[in-house]
């Protein structure tokens, strides 16, 4: 009996000691160093979409590039205030530092000499040539960022179309063929405008002067990013999904401050900081753990964030996922209210009129006074401020009153500067009476949109606004399949449709070229079918000039679009982040999350 009692006491003591050590372990984050930093520098957050690809030559989604910007570097990058600053290059080329020739056609780029890839390889000018030639040959969605470089078209032509016989098990693929050619320095895949006079200099020659190129080449996680040839060649199809293992070839190798150390598709991603990274600031975080969740899990994630399981929510291109009730919940909790960070997001949503597809467009097609008048009637009948208040509660969006380019970006026209943002139901009604007195033209109109997010309440709001202010019943045409909706819109199969754009880089060219310009028309992206020779000619001229000279011409384009009533401005998106107060350096600008190497976890 005595023996049993002693044994029980021993077990009890062990349990108490175990409990204490568990408590100590659980409170690991609260242990601080003398500098105020938490001992454990592991950042944890959820994302709500799997990576499509982390290959800079092909990436086309913000959810991917937000992560890639911490692994790959460009020659230049945007700082937290969206200023262009040197990254792999020693400076930003300009005519004053002799980086840009007087005719604006040649850029001389000097590279930093201490740069290393995170597999230990040294970085040189050859890596820039390889990465950019490869990106041009891959012909991804952002290959056009390099299109001004001499020889770009020839490389795309030489690369040809990918074979359709590929599979995952050994058939020589398009990418494999490209890699073989690039490895052998096949001249057909070398842009003639790209050369490397020495290991630390790159010379870029353009076919035409280009005022927007420098910003486009600096777009994070995209065609201007530098990849490691050796790593890509180990598995041209899937190198980006492989982890980097010290001492082994291959994996998602970049020159950034973090590398991918674990990846379970559709489940989780882990990144570790590169020890002795060449850049600045040196990463304080040692690890970043990302959980890939279904969007429906966000309510549970907010609870987990409040309980400390996650440090932030909204990073990785997910700043629009917090719903209004969740935002209100955080705001209403005195402990967390100041940890909700609201930030304008560089995305504008508008309504596109079908102005260029007569067979499918309805009464808004064309440039007749009646078509324009009706477009304007529908635009003036919508109270944009009330829409932002009703639909977004002035939390998830703000009224788009300063033109198509979002507030805070180059090209923003100024508050209330867009005449189409006005709300004038009297004039709207009068225009409708003038151009459609019988109501025949505006009978059976449809507004098409993809469901989800704010799109449904916005559609209902518009329907009510037109019914109330114009007396016109517009039918809603929702599509639960976004890809089908976008396909229809791109091919002009709509009358009025939800439309929008999230800027890539801070330059008006990103908007005016990609949406209504000759490039958009040529690539099938001009959804409204708007086609105006004056617009194209002003655009071409503006694109070739430095932004300081081109801005007035871009503003002229804005005027052409609003005069023609191609769109109805609706709202600017607002990003919402839940960021625990012990995170220093975390946040976002209108374009992207702040870089991970700027973040540190304070003791808490």
């Amino acid at each position: 009996m005595k023996h049993l009692t002693l044994r029980f006491r021993a077990v009890q003591t062990a349990a108490i000691l175990g409990g204490i050590s568990l408590l100590v372990a659980a409170c690991g984050n609260t242990t601080s160093t003398t500098s105020g930093l938490a001992t454990k520098q592991v950042l944890k957050f959820p994302v709500y979409q799997s990576a499509g690809t982390f290959d800079p030559g092909e990436a086309d989604a913000e959810v991917d590039t937000e992560i890639m910007q911490n692994v790959f570097s460009n020659l230049w990058k945007f700082d937290d205030k969206l200023n262009l600053v040197p990254d792999l290059a020693t400076d930003v080329p300009s005519s004053s530092n002799n980086g840009v020739s007087s005719d604006g056609l040649t850029y001389t780029v000097h590279l930093k000499q201490n740069v290393k890839f995170n597999n230990g390889d040294s970085f040189s000018s050859k890596d820039v040539l390889y990465s950019w030639n490869r990106a041009a040959a891959l012909q991804g969605a952002y290959a056009s960022n390099l299109s001004a470089i001499a020889g770009f078209d020839a490389v795309q032509k030489a690369a040809g179309a990918p074979p359709s016989s590929k599979n995952s098990a050994g058939v020589t693929s398009f990418r494999q063929t490209l890699e073989n050619k690039l490895a052998s320095n096949d001249p057909s895949l070398q842009m003639s405008g790209l050369s490397a006079p020495d290991a630390n200099t790159v010379k870029i020659t353009l076919a035409n002067p280009c005022g927007w190129c420098l910003t486009a080449w600096s777009l994070q996680g995209s065609t201007g990013s530098i990849v490691n040839q050796k790593a890509v060649q180990t598995d041209p199809e899937n190198w980006w999904s492989k982890v980097v293992t010290p001492g082994q070839e291959g994996g998602m190798v970049g020159t950034g401050p973090f590398y991918m150390s674990a990846y379970t598709a559709k489940q989780s991603l882990t990144f570790k900081s590169v020890s002795n990274w060449w850049g600045s600031p040196k990463p304080t975080l040692t690890e970043v753990d990302i959980a890939i969740h279904d969007p429906s899990a966000i309510a549970g994630d907010v609870t987990a964030w409040e309980q400390g399981s996650y440090d932030l929510i909204g990073y990785g291109g997910n700043s629009g996922n917090l719903t209004y009730p969740l935002i209100q919940g955080i705001k209403g909790n005195s402990r967390f209210a100041n940890q909700l960070i609201t930030q304008p997001k560089g995305r504008t949503t508008w309504l596109s009129f079908n102005v260029g597809y007569p067979s499918t467009g309805g009464p808004f097609v064309g440039e007749s006074a009646a078509a324009k008048g009706l477009r304007k009637a529908f635009a003036l009948a919508v109270d944009k401020n009330d829409l932002a208040k009703t639909v977004c509660h002035d939390v998830q969006c703000s009224a788009a009153t300063g033109g198509l380019i979002t507030k805070g970006l180059i090209g923003y026209l100024g508050d209330n500067a867009d005449p189409l943002a006005k709300f004038d139901p009297t004039q709207a009604k009068s225009l409708l009476q003038q151009y459609d007195p019988t109501g025949k033209l505006t009978a059976n109109l449809k507004y098409s949109y993809n469901t989800g997010g704010l799109n449904d309440p916005v559609a209902s709001y518009l329907q009510n606004a037109w019914q109330t202010n114009l007396g016109v019943k517009v039918n809603l045409d929702p599509s639960s399949d976004a890809s089908q909706f976008i396909s229809n819109r791109l091919s002009g199969k709509y009358v009025m449709a939800r439309d929008g754009w999230q800027f890539d880089y801070n330059h008006p060219q990103d908007w005016y070229d990609n949406l209504w310009g000759y490039l958009a028309t040529a690539s099938g992206a001009n959804t409204s079918g708007f086609d105006d020779p004056t617009y194209d000619s002003v655009l071409k001229q503006a694109d070739q000039q430095p932004i300081s000279q081109a801005l007035s011409e871009y503003n002229q384009l804005a005027k052409i679009l609003s005069d023609d009533v191609v769109y109805i401005p609706l709202y600017y998106s607002v990003a919402n982040f839940a960021i625990r107060s012990y995170l220093k350096g975390a946040g976002s600008n209108t374009q992207a999350d702040f870089y991970w190497n700027e973040i540190s976890i304070q003791s808490h």
């Binding site: 959820p46 799997s50 990576a51 499509g52 690809t53 290959d55 092909e58 086309d60 989604a61 012909q139 991804g140 969605a141 952002y142 290959a143 179309a161 990918p162 074979p163 359709s164 016989s165 590929k166 599979n167 995952s168 098990a169 050994g170 398009f174 199809e237 899937n238 999904s241 379970t264 598709a265 559709k266 489940q267 959980a291 969740h293 279904d294 429906s296 899990a297 309510a299 549970g300 994630d301 609870t303 987990a304 399981s309 399949d481 976004a482 890809s483 089908q484 976008i486 396909s487 791109l490 929008g500 754009w501 999230q502 040529a522 690539s523 099938g524 992206a525």
Partner: protein, 319 residues
């Protein structure tokens, strides 16, 4: 011991499974490729970039040619192809991992189904016309009358909302699945929701079979020999009563496999069922077809397994 007849039977069934899988996979392959939209198109990907991607993944080929290429990948390389949504990612490891998650859930649900069903059925029969019988029979009626998604939703409401403070998340916590196989707490409610429906059917059948068996002469003889009731029920009555139960094991397993599509989506469990639905919305054709094909194989083998179990439970059955 497998007899020659049994081996021939297994061979015939394997051929039948292969034929069924081919038919099912082609049907699904054809239908999903007819759906409007595709995995690539977006505000950024259109025009030439879109055409190149479609061409690269062979999606501009005639559907029979695409199917033939897909079949070649399976038979020559053991590959279900690559994902279109996560571009180029081989999907075989992905779906195998998800299969293991679904198997975990399905296995737990099967234990609940058989465990609850047989226990309730035996107790109800042994205590026939008592309050125990009425209670258990009523639970069984509720079980097979209420669809699993209703049980799941009620479970979330009760344990995730109303009793969350009481259980402290011990039964259900509205957090995403935390690991490859989840935790017992995460698994308990989904498995119950998935298994409860069929456990009601098993309760009914077990009860009826037990009532039939315990009135047989050999049971009376066993009791006359002085055996205690527990031994009589468990050793002599239950085994014979399980023969009709075995006959519905096939449909039960199939019900659990197909039911997991709904349950995994309700609870956010990263198994095959959730993947199946997601892949349809994402136009990730290879994943959809791969998952459906795996389902067809599983159902084929589940039926075969049940047929073989018959011979063990009832030695009179020969193939």
């Amino acid at each position: 011991m497998l007899t020659r007849g049994t081996l021939i039977y297994i061979g015939q069934r394997l051929v039948l499974i292969l034929f069924t899988v081919l038919m099912v996979s082609f049907g699904v392959f054809y239908v999903v490729h007819l759906l409007p939209g595709n995995a690539f198109v977006s505000d950024r990907v259109h025009g030439r970039a879109l055409q190149l991607l479609l061409h690269q993944y062979g999606l501009d080929l005639p559907i029979p040619v695409q199917y033939w290429n897909w079949l070649k990948g399976i038979f020559l390389h053991g590959s279900l192809g690559v994902s279109l949504y996560i571009r180029g990612l081989p999907i075989t490891p992905l779906v195998l991992r998800e299969l293991s998650v679904s198997a975990m859930l399905g296995g737990a649900a099967l234990i609940i189904t058989i465990g609850l069903g047989v226990t309730f059925g035996v107790l109800a029969a042994v205590r026939q016309n008592s309050w125990v019988d009425y209670l258990l029979t009523s639970i069984a009626v509720v079980g097979y009358s209420v669809p699993s998604f209703v049980i799941a939703s009620l479970g979330i409401l009760i344990f995730g909302q109303w009793l969350n403070n009481v259980t402290n998340g011990g039964i259900y916590y509205p957090e995403p699945w935390t690991g490859t196989y989840g935790t017992l707490a995460e698994l308990s409610l989904p498995a119950l929701a998935l298994g409860f429906y069929t456990s009601g059917q098993i309760t009914r059948i077990t009860r009826a079979a037990m009532l039939d068996v315990i009135q047989q002469d050999y049971i009376r003889t066993a009791r006359a020999k002085g055996l205690v009731n527990r031994v009589v029920i468990l050793r002599h009555a239950l085994r014979n009563a399980l023969v009709p139960v075995t006959s519905i094991l096939g449909p039960t397993v199939i019900g659990i496999i197909t039911g997991s599509v709904v349950i995994e989506n309700i609870f956010g469990i990263p198994g095959l069922g959730k993947e199946f639905v997601e892949s349809i919305f994402q136009h990730d054709y290879n994943v959809t077809v791969g998952v459906f094909t795996i389902y067809a194989v599983l159902i084929g083998f589940a039926n075969l397994g049940v047929d073989l179990v018959y011979t063990v439970v009832d030695p009179r059955i020969r193939y």
